[in-house]
Amino acid sequence: MSEKFLMKGNEALAEAAIRAGCRHFFGYPITPQTEISAYMSKRMPKIGGTYLQAESEVAAINMVLGAASAGVRAMTSSSSPGISLKSEGVSYIAGSDVPCVIIDVMRGGPGLGGIQPSQADYWQATKSLGHGDFQILVYAPASVQEMVDLMYKAFDKSDEYRMPAMILADGMLGQMMEPVSFPEDNTSNLKEKEWATNGTKEARKPNIINSLLLNPDELEKSIVERYKKYDIIKEKEVLFEDYLTDDADFVVVAYGATSRISKSAVNEARKKGIKVGLLRPKTLWPFPTEKLYQLSKQVKKMLVVEMSMGQMVDDVKLSTKGNCPVEFYGRTGGVIPTPKEVLNEIIKLAEKEGE
């Protein structure tokens, strides 16, 4: 590892994307992620890259579709309301099997909502980022260093599976500064993309990037093929952090910013003698279903903590298949839960169990 920098999460995301070989960024200002655009606008011209401030989020994601179709690593970033606008383009990109990276630094919604941190777009990211049957890779970093590490991975996996990848962060991670170091640039393993529309040079048949298949049988077949790919991803690409769960009677499940708050609470609860651990998904799709299923057979109860009214909790319940009760604690609208609040919830869990 090289030199450490004290960097804002948003800026670290931007620098990591550049070091992952991204030379084409299309953005639009929105709090709390604007530092990404500002950083890109400063750096890209100096390294021969493209920074373009689009006329809208809609245009930005479609510029990504164009650039990524040409075979380059392309990225856009936004926050919740802007991601809603991008959803049309994401659906087309997924339906056309084009890789790209999208950053979502979540803020409170619905509507214009607020600008403080939130995790209320879990459903949007993992279930319904646009119309039709499709999934995107969703990475949920919990520190500035992890924002960097997962950015490299997002580009690699997006290329490998030819599908969009999202970094799902929140205003807290985007705005905070932590020491960070950057791994070696990983642009050397960039492979030629034979499917790219970069001109036939009259040496091959035309490549077509397209999501339109009017024949239902053909469309069904193409979707089924894509879902076979999704099955492989579910098997190979799940990432999570497993913290103090070995002997745990209780497990807190949280991702991103709330996982850090929950970790503080777990540490405090351990000091009080409560056997509690933390399971932190680093990929939200694919979701650590199997790990949670195994834990559900071991623990007495799970507690899901989110900055929302309860979204990921659904996936936790599905994963546990009714083996253990799953409780929920959430704050929403930009309110960040404190470690003390979460600790109280853990204590309540334990008390109900008569500990």
């Binding site: 709090t31 705005q175 500064m177 850090r260």
Partner: protein, 176 residues
């Protein structure tokens, strides 16, 4: 482990004082985090930032119960004074804040940082005077580490500001 909260008005350099602190911690091989409040106001609104310095990885970067509160305006003083942990420290700018509801379970130190800055010709550097004074009272990091962090944090384009910043730190550190 030191959890610090810097609070005041936007434009007082609250976030910058926090950044210096985090940078200093990092250069001293500590784990650090810096988390600002952010809002629609660029200047004039309240601003605060959480800074954590620890030997262990920082689990929660949001400081809701500070060990040290460095506060530079009345609204923030009233908002955060009660959140300081027992045995913790309150450092306030006594030229702007009356300590009218003193707690007796914490250490309380006042310094007229804003008036000092004005009289010393260091307009806008009350934040660094506060930082120096906090350092004197709590010793959360060695003085040299913090002054080096200032040297690193003042951009080349604003090099003329370096000396005044270092002077402000010294004034705060030596204030009796």
């Amino acid at each position: 482990m030191t959890n610090m909260l810097f609070a005041g008005f936007g434009g007082q350099g609250i976030l910058f004082a926090g950044k210096i602190t985090a940078n200093a911690g990092m250069s001293y091989n500590k784990q650090v985090s810096w988390l600002p409040s952010y809002g629609p106001e660029m200047r004039g609104g309240t601003a605060n930032c959480s800074v954590c310095i620890d030997d262990e990885p920082i689990s929660c970067p949001l400081v809701s119960e500070p060990d040290i509160l460095v506060v530079m305006n009345k609204p923030s003083y009233h908002k955060f004074e009660n959140s300081i942990v027992e045995g913790g420290t309150l450092v306030y700018d006594s030229s702007l804040i009356e300590n009218d509801e003193p707690r007796n379970d914490i250490n309380v130190y006042g310094i007229p940082a804003t008036s000092l800055a004005e009289s010393e010709g260091l307009n806008g550097l009350a934040n660094i005077i506060m930082l120096g004074f906090t350092l004197q009272k709590t010793n959360f990091l060695p003085y040299d580490v913090v002054s080096k962090a200032i040297e690193k944090s003042v951009p080349k384009s604003k090099e003329h500001l370096l000396k005044p910043n270092l002077k402000a730190l010294e004034i705060g550190f030596n204030y009796k």
